[in-house]
């Protein structure tokens, strides 16, 4: 019951944050110099056309009336028209969001499945060569901007070695799978279309690795630091005295308690990952929401910008709620404290 209350309160406070974000970004988009109607119609439109557009977009009304009419639209699932793609923003988000979600899921998967064990190995071999190599790898990834990593990977694996495709989500002659979830790898797997699956997997590998490396390295560093503590803890020493195997001690007794702080930070890293997605999608020409966001920013496409920002904010808040719940489930002190 306490957990339920906790979840409800987290959802409530996140909704307030999202509401605040919508006000912030809406005001930003409206108060910034330049006439959105003029931008939408281009330089050659007549003054009457611009005035009609201003009426249509409610630009002559006070800003709070504009905001409330926008908000009403949001609740109906209407985010306005994108002047860049000439489609409703909701439709664009529906088209582009799965690509980004797929990328983030893969990156998150690498972050946990590679980062945590590497951190554990480094902690186990504290001070030895393998520890040094892993730490160097981690520091290199943290201090290198994501776009540089992306381009290096692309040069090495796509251009020089030719193992993986350079850009896009799927090779040209292959049709994308029937949309079920919108994630190509998952959809093709559901349809048992293995050729499609392998091809989309090859495409997603490089961008998702480029996206994950910074977070993955944070996971390495945190797991290592926390495990150095838990490896010295009395319960680990006792497990040692009972002559449990190294593997059991490492993964069962030392790793679990070290994971709680790591998971907390993964939530924060997710925010950085969403930001980096904007760079990685540009490098690999990945047709996701971030690339759409960059293009709408470049074209001053106000409705699209507000829509993208809201979706990104929503994703961040949802992930953080999930992580809070996860921590509450693992650690009763947080849940009940």
């Amino acid at each position: 019951m306490k957990l339920f209350k906790f979840i409800i309160s987290r959802i409530f406070s996140s909704s307030i944050t999202l509401f605040g974000l919508s006000i912030l970004i809406f005001c930003m988009a409206r108060l910034i110099p330049g006439d959105p109607a003029r931008m939408a119609l281009g330089d050659r439109a007549s003054l009457e056309q611009v005035e009609a557009m201003r009426e249509k977009l409610l630009l002559n009304e006070p800003i709070f009336i504009q905001y409330f009419s926008y908000l009403k639209g949001v609740f109906r699932g209407d985010l306005g028209y994108s002047i860049f793609t000439k489609k409703p923003v909701t439709q664009n988000i529906y088209d582009f969001l799965p690509a980004t979600l797929e990328l983030l899921l893969f990156a998150g998967f690498f972050m946990i499945v590679i980062g945590v064990p590497l951190g554990a190995i480094a902690a186990k071999n504290n001070g030895k060569l393998s520890d040094f190599i892993i730490r160097f790898f981690a520091i290199f990834n943290i201090v290198t901007p994501a776009f540089v990593i992306g381009i290096l990977l692309m040069i090495l694996f796509s251009h020089n070695l030719g193992w993986l495709p350079i850009a896009g989500r799927i090779s040209d002659p292959i049709f994308p799978p029937v949309r079920i979830t919108g994630l190509y790898t998952l959809d093709s797997l559901i349809m048992l279309d293995f050729k499609n699956f392998i091809d989309s997997l090859k495409h997603i590998l490089l961008p998702s690795i480029a996206l994950s490396l910074a977070g993955l390295s944070q996971a390495i560093r945190l797991t290592r630091a926390n495990m150095l503590d838990t490896l010295k803890a009395p319960y680990t020493e006792m497990a040692n005295a009972f002559a449990f195997s190294d593997k059991t001690i490492l993964f069962k007794y030392a790793l679990k308690p070290a994971l709680i702080p790591t998971i907390t930070i993964i939530g924060l890293d997710f925010s950085a990952m969403l930001g980096n997605a904007f760079l990685v999608e540009m490098v690999f020409d990945w047709p996701g929401i971030a690339k759409y966001g960059v293009h709408s920013i470049m074209n001053a496409d106000l409705n699209a910008i507000v829509g993208v920002v809201l979706i990104i904010g929503l994703m961040f808040l949802v992930v953080n709620i999930l992580i809070d719940i996860l921590i509450a489930l693992i650690n009763p002190k947080v849940r009940l404290g």
Partner: protein, 282 residues
């Protein structure tokens, strides 16, 4: 006081990596100050075109080679340090005091103000800094002033949250109560009792943030929203050279390495400070 500094220095120099970080940062600071005197072609930081010398690989005259317009990459990289360093310094000079001020107030005075402030902070922190910066700069002008303004606007909440949580945790300590009993004003308690206790955390965060802001500016430059040419900028130089990376690797390699050098330096220094201050920020 002197004794404290000596103890701090003793702890700091125990770790060779911290010293390395300090040296790197000092070198970069010296470069940014003396850059017109140490670069062979200071005029190449501006509008210079020299097609007779374009795309030269690294040699004795142009240590990092020349770019597609014949400009010396070494000189431009060194000047780009100045741009990046200047930008991130100004951003933090604006954002840190504002963040500290609101953080102190929010942590000390409970009630409506605290709630409103922390919700505002949450709103700012619910989006990646890079995304908000791109939106603001994309909708305004791509000038240095707007870049600084946009990033500063996004950066203060981080300091507010940091100072807020420290203030919250120490405001019920005995020495604060003692100061209150002695009749100290709120102003005195906030700025002379609480603030000094926040300084180690703030200082450490500033060091790592300098690197972080530089990376954000480089990323903005990469997308094309950063400092506009001909002003040299590390991100932009790296991005521009990427198209030609197979033929003229030096165009993006050296600016890229320069970003790396700077970011490594600040991170090592930050880690060293954290260790020496005995902070547990992880």
């Amino acid at each position: 006081m002197l004794e404290n500094i000596l103890i701090f220095w003793f702890k700091f120099k125990m770790n060779p990596f911290s010293i390395l970080g300090l040296i790197i940062v000092c070198v970069v600071v010296l470069i940014t100050i003396f850059v017109p005197f140490i670069t062979p072609f200071p005029e190449h930081a501006g509008k210079v075109v020299d097609f007779s010398n374009m795309n030269q690989p690294p040699n004795n005259i142009n240590y990092f080679g020349t770019d597609t317009l014949g400009r010396d990459v070494f000189s431009r990289t060194m000047f780009a340090y100045r741009t990046s360093f200047f930008l991130s310094l100004v951003v933090l000079l604006i954002a840190v005091p504002v963040g500290i001020f609101f953080g102190l107030l929010g942590g000390y005075f409970t009630g409506l103000f605290e709630n409103i402030l922390m919700r505002i902070v949450d709103v700012f922190l619910s989006l990646p800094a890079l995304v908000l910066a791109m939106v603001i700069i994309g909708l305004t002008e791509h000038s240095m002033t707007y870049i600084m303004a946009a990033i500063s606007l996004l950066w203060w909440p981080w300091y507010s949250r940091l100072v807020y949580s420290i203030t919250k945790s120490i405001k019920n300590e005995d020495y604060i109560a003692a100061a209150k009993i002695c009749g100290a004003s709120n102003f005195h308690i906030l700025f002379f009792e609480i603030l000094p206790n926040c300084l180690p955390s703030i200082l450490t965060k500033i060091t790592t943030d300098l690197a972080f802001v530089i990376m954000i500016i480089a990323a903005l430059g990469f997308v094309g929203l950063g400092v506009q040419p001909p002003i040299p900028d590390l991100g932009r130089m790296t991005a521009d050279g990427m198209d030609l990376v197979f033929d003229s690797y030096w165009l993006s390699l050296f600016p890229g390495l320069a970003i790396l050098f700077l970011v490594v330096g600040f991170n090592l220094l930050g880690d060293g400070l954290r260790e020496a201050f005995d902070l547990d920020l992880r």
